[in-house]
């Protein structure tokens, strides 16, 4: 079966197979209908299917009577900020984030710059499925599209959130791998504003992705080499649209993507205690760090919209996910890798500490992730069977998103991906051998 996911995080699929221009047109028209016309921003990452999907989205929005502002290629968080300063009613980001080159997706942002929450997303889906859209007549339809540059304002907002002068004085050497994605236009500029010596690689938005746009150790070999060769203080790796961040230490060691939020939590809570919002699939290290600093952790289902809602609800001081997404509330309530960079560099400048020594202090846990491709029609029944098996053994489990089982030596989490037809298994334990055992334990209980 060919992958297409229409769900609460938007619509996502492979261009040339399931993700057709009609689908993009109708989703955009449904979104225009949902917002009853209004001003809508559109942005995209650097995938070659971007212009095709963009035109389809523009057609759908215009047909619904929307006023459209095209931001061109930019990170999704730049668009989310622009929704506010352009006083827009919403936005559509054309990006498949960390998915491979041939994928694309639409992500829907509401008037406050945050993603649609699950209820709102359900409403949008109902309009899409019903297929009855607003259709502007010739006197109402907008006859042209406006353009705006969201990057400068994004940098302005970042500058207000961090001690830029302190960072500038330190003249940090920073390597950054933009994966030829949307951050190519933001990240090197932001680092220069911070007075860094920038070693930029893969920062050509016209070139293909040099590796999977998913910042994790497996994709950061080139960045590690540049950090070592350039004696950089730190290396940063971006995904395609500026949400997830990967980190390489001053010694050229790549950190697990789970460590990005752990590091940010350590930095944030040391300065200011409060609630950290993360999903139930993210490393237990967050809880250990929080308890050291007298903070607490709020766990949500997986997905940015839940983190944003959790932060709004708890007035939290930091949000993020084990995938490398970090939310710094002073900038905005959504994942923003440029904000995460600001937070980390501010700490390096103020403390004069090295990333590698900081990492030493963090709890050392082994997290293993395993993806099981599943036929879409089996996705949820497989999950149900796993739950039944856990239940029959009388184990303690949580089910706000998939099934999370806490065991004496660690935990396992099994859930259906929001974006692909796969079952994601995450296990965590202190020892690597124990973690491997937990993974086997879990796999034994999943029958495909």
């Amino acid at each position: 079966m060919k992958p297409l996911k229409i769900g609460i995080t938007g619509v996502r699929g492979i261009v040339g197979e399931t993700f057709t221009p009609e689908l993009a047109v109708e989703f955009a028209q449904a979104f225009g209908t949902y917002l009853d016309g209004g001003r809508i921003l559109v942005c995209r990452d650097t995938r070659p299917s971007g212009p095709m999907i963009r035109s389809a989205v523009l057609a759908g929005l215009l047909a619904a009577g929307c006023e459209v502002v095209d931001l061109g290629i930019c990170p999704t968080p730049s668009m989310q900020l622009a929704v506010k300063w352009l006083e827009a009613d919403g936005g559509i980001a054309i990006t498949a984030g960390h998915n491979p080159w041939r994928w694309n997706a639409l992500k829907f942002v509401r008037g406050d710059g945050l993603y649609l929450n699950p209820t709102q997303a359900e409403e949008l889906l109902d309009i899409f499925h019903q297929g009855e859209f607003l259709k502007a007549n010739w006197t109402k339809i907008k006859s042209s599209i406006a353009y705006a540059d969201p990057i400068s304002k994004h940098i302005d907002a970042l500058q207000k959130a961090f001690a830029v002068d302190v960072i500038r004085r330190r003249r940090l050497v920073v390597a950054v791998d933009c994966c030829n994605g949307a951050c190519s236009l933001l990240s090197p500029r932001w680092l220069e504003v911070l007075g860094c010596e920038v070693l930029a690689l893969n920062n050509d938005p016209a070139a293909p992705f040099p590796h999977a746009p998913e910042p994790k150790p497996a994709t950061m070999a080139q960045l590690c080499a540049v950090v070592k060769a350039g004696h950089a203080d730190v290396g940063f790796a971006h995904d395609a649209d500026g949400e997830r961040l990967g980190i390489v230490t001053d010694r050229g060691e790549p950190l697990s993507e789970e460590m990005t939020l752990a590091l940010a939590t350590e930095i944030r809570l040391r300065k200011r205690s409060g609630t950290v919002v993360t999903n139930i699939s993210t490393t237990q290290a967050i809880d250990c760090i929080a308890s050291q600093h007298g903070g607490n952790v709020l766990r949500t289902p997986v997905g940015q919209a839940y983190i944003s809602e959790g932060l709004l609800e708890s007035n939290g001081v930091l949000g993020g996910e084990g995938s490398g997404g970090v939310t710094v509330p002073e900038v905005h309530l959504t994942h923003d890798s440029a904000a995460a960079i600001g937070l980390i560099l501010e700490h390096l400048a103020e403390s004069d500490e090295k990333i590698s020594t900081m990492v030493q202090r963090l709890p050392r846990l082994t997290t293993l992730k395993h993806d099981l491709p599943i036929e879409p029609h089996r996705l949820y029944s497989v999950l149900q069977e796993f739950r039944a098996s856990v239940e029959s053994e009388g184990l303690l489990f949580e089910s706000i998103d998939g099934v999370k089982v806490t065991l004496p030596d660690g935990w396992v989490h099994v859930r259906a991906s929001n974006t692909q037809s796969i079952i994601r298994i995450i296990v965590e334990a202190k020892e690597r051998t124990k973690a491997a055992e937990l993974l086997d334990w879990t796999r034994d209980r999943i029958r495909i």
């Binding site: 212009p51 095709m52 963009r54 994928w103 259709k135």
Partner: protein, 452 residues
């Protein structure tokens, strides 16, 4: 009676009303079908300035890109500019986004083949089959091609015209022209061409913002402002374009519309004077064109109605000029396309060369009057109407290639069913207006009787 549908999908393209039937989903599917039909090549896209043009354009671009095509977006421009660009760039095809003379709420796609001509009947049927089958070429996300945005396509067009016909002769009195572009696709390029030719231009209705200052069809009843402006400015001629700048109508120096049939007559008068050769028009064209062809001893071929029939025959006959009685002038040295810009250039040269006024030029030939009528007629009754006419007028020369055309001693008439609305059209021409009216009245009654 059931409502008349506003969507028309036919061999001349797809046409509908914005906010009702012409949805972006439909448009993007049609563009995918066209991309599939052209084998994922380069496709030139241009549009008229209707308010819905930007929406339609993006739906079309998405469809072309998805089917593996490369897009050359030439922006707002006349239809003949799109056709010229297709040939100049050796593109695989073109899409002109325009509902030509239809009111502002309409829009349409017109499909152009790699030869710069509109798709012929066979090609159009292939396209429709692909559209209806719904299986379009879809290229992988990493093989999607690009959109090239081109400005200056209209400058290329102007240069092609000046290269072919030359500027107006210097040393003669500078001709003064009032141009009414109907705020259409000719608004920018029209005045530029006239200046490049060396005429003095007084432009009216040249704000291409999608508003319609008058009904788009350049027929006499819509040209009040132009007539007034010609008189007021003491101009030598008034030109009126339609929304997509393929048709041209002329107002004389006295501020009187000479009838859109006469645009081709005057253009032919100039061209045949320069270069005698075959002339092609459709069978609904004024007899004045035959008089001009006769004067130069040139053959005149009359085809079925439809631009593509005229252009096909022009190529076959190696014609030097051709067109349609609705003001469409086709000059093959530029392109096989109805082109108001070429029409203006030819008529101005005629004025400069002859030293005569529009009125004098028209009056050298017998003056004909065309009278047109239409009446509601359920489409299933049309064959019976045509059969009745064939029988009733069997003693007269008949042409039944497209409806029924009857040549009478005092003139001719043509009855045909519309392919866009449930109506029949009656056209009659005679040297006397009263006779033309009489013919129409008589035929109208016969048709009405037959329908009853």
């Amino acid at each position: 009676m059931r409502a008349i549908p506003t969507l028309k999908i036919s061999i001349s393209g797809v046409r509908g009303v914005i906010g009702q039937s012409l949805t972006p989903t439909l448009l993007t599917r049609f563009a995918q079908a066209f991309g599939t039909h052209t084998g994922s090549g380069t496709i030139v896209v241009g549009r008229d300035p209707r308010t819905s043009g930007e929406m339609v354009k993006h739906a079309v671009i998405a469809g072309i890109l998805s089917s593996g095509g490369r897009v050359v977006d030439i922006g707002v421009c006349p239809v003949p500019t799109v056709q010229l660009q297709v040939r100049r760039r050796k593109a695989s095809g073109g899409i002109a986004i325009t509902a030509s003379h239809n009111p502002a709420e309409w829009n349409a796609l017109k499909f152009i083949g790699s030869n710069g001509l509109f798709l012929d009947g066979g090609q159009a049927r292939e396209l429709l089959d692909i559209y209806h089958q719904g299986e379009y070429t879809k290229v992988n996300g990493d093989e999607i091609r690009t959109v090239e945005e081109v400005s200056g396509a209209t400058d290329t067009h102007i240069k092609a015209i000046i290269d072919a016909v030359g500027p107006l002769p210097s040393g003669k009195r500078r001709l003064k022209v009032v141009l009414d572009s109907c705020n259409g696709a000719g608004s920018i390029v029209g005045p530029k061409l006239l200046e490049a030719l060396g005429a003095e231009v007084v432009p009216i209705n040249v704000t291409p913002d999608g508003s319609f200052p008058r009904p788009a069809e350049p027929v006499p009843e819509n040209l009040g402002d132009l007539c007034e402006a010609v008189e007021q400015h003491g101009a030598d001629v008034g030109f009126a374009q339609d929304m997509d700048a393929d048709r041209l109508a002329i107002v004389s120096e006295q501020g009187i519309p000479i009838g859109e049939d006469y645009t081709l007559v005057l253009a032919a008068l100039y061209v045949l004077g320069q270069q005698p050769g075959p002339v092609v028009a459709n069978l609904s064209t004024t007899s004045a064109l035959a008089d001009v062809a006769n004067k130069f001893g040139c053959p005149l071929f009359l085809t079925k109605i439809g631009e593509v029939n005229v252009t096909d025959k022009m190529q076959q006959a190696n014609a030097v000029i051709g067109g349609e009685g609705n003001g469409g002038v086709i000059y093959p040295r530029i392109n096989f396309a109805r082109d108001s810009l070429v029409g203006m250039a030819l008529v101005l040269h005629l004025l400069a060369d002859s030293g005569k006024t529009i009125t004098q030029l028209v009056d050298q030939f017998p003056r004909y009057t065309v009278v047109k009528e239409k009446m509601l007629c359920p489409s299933e009754k049309i064959p019976a109407v045509l059969k009745m006419l064939r029988q009733k007028y069997e003693k007269f020369p008949l042409d039944t290639r497209d409806g029924v055309k009857v040549t009478l001693p005092e003139g001719w008439f043509l009855v045909r069913g519309s392919n866009t609305e449930p109506i029949v059209r009656v056209v009659a021409e005679s040297q006397s207006e009263s006779q033309a009216r009489e013919i129409v009245a008589r035929v109208y009654e016969q048709v009405a009787h037959c329908i009853k």
